[in-house]
């Protein structure tokens, strides 16, 4: 965690240095006033992935849901093992700034041994208001598992963005 804070501080310093360079250049060509401009920034950090863990499919189609709080609901006929987590993202920026957050509403997963599955995706909030320490949002989803779904490792990608207005 300390390492992390250090990094952030360095990032801030880098920005300040860049900003100063930029305004120094402007100053030379325009008015001759030296100013240092600190730019407003936004950072997006992923702190956990949306994980459904391992599922053993049953004779009938069913679903596994992971809430935005990370709680799993294993549908009838399925066996779910391992630890599920919701996707978690941290946003930092100007205190009080409202950031719109969201992403794809579904994702298709392809199996390593063939077959596909789909998962719907849900987001904890359409926007977050940043506190002095930032804010966070979570991604949950519901995975549709077919009857006797082919075994294998299923993978897919989906888009998540934090948007300034």
């Amino acid at each position: 965690m300390r390492n992390y804070g250090m990094k952030r501080a360095l990032a801030g310093a880098a920005i300040a240095a860049l900003a100063m360079n930029a305004s120094a250049a402007h100053a030379a060509s325009a008015s001759g006033t030296a100013t240092a401009k600190i730019l407003r920034q936004i950072t997006l950090t992923k702190t956990s992935d949306l994980q459904y863990a391992t599922i053993i499919s049953g004779a009938t189609a069913s679903t596994v849901a992971v809430s935005t709080a990370g709680a799993a609901t294993c549908g009838a006929g399925l066996t779910c093992t391992g630890t599920t987590t919701a996707g978690n993202y941290t946003v930092q920026g100007t205190n009080g700034a409202v950031v719109l957050v969201g992403g794809d509403s579904s994702v298709t997963l392809n199996g390593s041994l063939g077959g596909t599955m789909t998962s719907t995706l849900t987001y904890s909030s359409p926007n977050i208001t940043l506190s002095p320490t930032g804010g966070s949002f979570q991604v949950g989803g519901t995975l549709s598992v077919g009857a006797n779904q082919a075994s294998g490792d299923y993978s897919g990608t989906f888009n998540v963005t934090a948007n300034y207005q």
């Binding site: 390492n3 952030r8 360095l10 990032a11 880098a14 920005i15 860049l18 730019l39 407003r40 920034q41 936004i42 950072t43 997006l44 950090t45 992923k46 702190t47 956990s48 992935d49 994980q51 863990a53 391992t54 599922i55 053993i56 093992t81 993202y89 920026g93 100007t94 009080g96 700034a97 409202v98 950031v99 719109l100 992403g103 199996g111 390593s112 041994l113 599955m117 909030s125 359409p126 926007n127 208001t129 991604v139 989803g141 995975l143 082919a150 075994s151 294998g152 490792d153 299923y154 993978s155 897919g156 990608t157 989906f158 888009n159 998540v160 963005t161 934090a162 948007n163 300034y164 207005q165």
Partner: protein, 274 residues
């Protein structure tokens, strides 16, 4: 001694490596500033920094988003854009479009505008998207035997968008604050109010909600925009339970321009929050 130090170095590297791996932080990013307005031909710079613990490749692109009456931003596929949105995509020039950065390495992205002859006055806008190109799906080792069920790996491609606004001609806009109320959403209470806009450009600023007689604001929300594609939007802000209770009753709502351009009042109103 040297060998000891080297061994120690390796040890710390390994320790850091294990400490960092649970965060899976490849592609974390910083973008500054958070909004770009271009009027005239002079360009500007946006800084992108890799704040993750691993090198990452970032892609920078422009996309069109339209504001909804609910205050969200909907992404519009390139084949569905209007002529004015197409013009925005074409007039905003930037470089680079792809960059690989080691951890904590900032990169300047130059943003400029190339206005075609005879561009009609108006506000043109696109949203600049910065996002990491994900690493190839991690090798999962041996394929699972049939008895072991299915395992799932979802890789998010996550990024940040900031608006890039080009203003052509002499534009103006006004906004007014409508009704305010507290509602319950599935994720807790929210403070809501309507914001209407007239004129030829967007409005942007900060909201401050105060109780008459109390200097300390109850709520501050910065960076609220109403874009030209909507005449009105709802502003809905998630608030903690105790604040939701406090907000009910008479309040003063003030919408001010960005502090960086003076912070003048756009509109203010006395409302009784239901």
């Amino acid at each position: 001694m040297l060998r000891f130090l080297r061994a120690f170095g390796l040890f710390t590297a390994a320790a850091l490596g294990t400490a960092a791996s649970p965060a899976l932080a490849s592609g974390d990013l910083l973008v500054a500033p958070t909004r770009v307005i271009l009027d005239g031909s002079r360009g500007t710079e946006v800084v992108l920094n890799n704040i993750g613990t691993e090198p990452a490749t970032y892609r920078i692109s422009l996309e069109i988003k339209r504001m909804t009456a609910e205050g969200g931003l909907n992404e519009i596929a390139e084949e569905n854009v209007t002529a004015a949105e197409r013009a925005a995509l074409d007039m905003i020039v930037f470089s680079p479009r792809r960059v690989t950065l080691p951890p904590n390495q900032p990169q300047v992205v130059r943003v400029g505008v190339r206005l075609p002859e005879g561009t009609p006055p108006g506000e043109y806008r696109a949203h600049m998207l910065f996002r990491a190109v994900p690493d190839a799906a991690p090798a999962t080792g041996e394929p699972k035997p049939a008895s072991e069920g299915v395992s799932i790996a979802l890789t998010p491609i996550y990024g940040i968008t900031i608006p890039v606004i080009v203003r052509v001609g002499d534009l103006g806009a006004e906004a007014s604050i409508g009704e305010a109320w507290v509602s319950d959403t599935q994720d807790g209470p929210a403070f809501n109010f309507d914001l209407t806009r007239t004129g030829s450009r967007s409005v942007y600023g900060d909201i401050e909600v105060t109780r008459p007689g109390t200097p300390e604001p109850l709520l501050v929300a910065r960076g609220i925009a109403v874009y030209p594609e909507v005449g009105a939007r709802k502003v809905s802000l998630r608030v903690p339970d105790e604040l939701a209770a406090k907000l009910k009753g008479p309040v003063h709502i003030r919408y001010t321009e960005d502090r960086e351009i003076g912070g003048g009042t756009i509109d203010e109103a006395e409302r009784v929050v239901k």
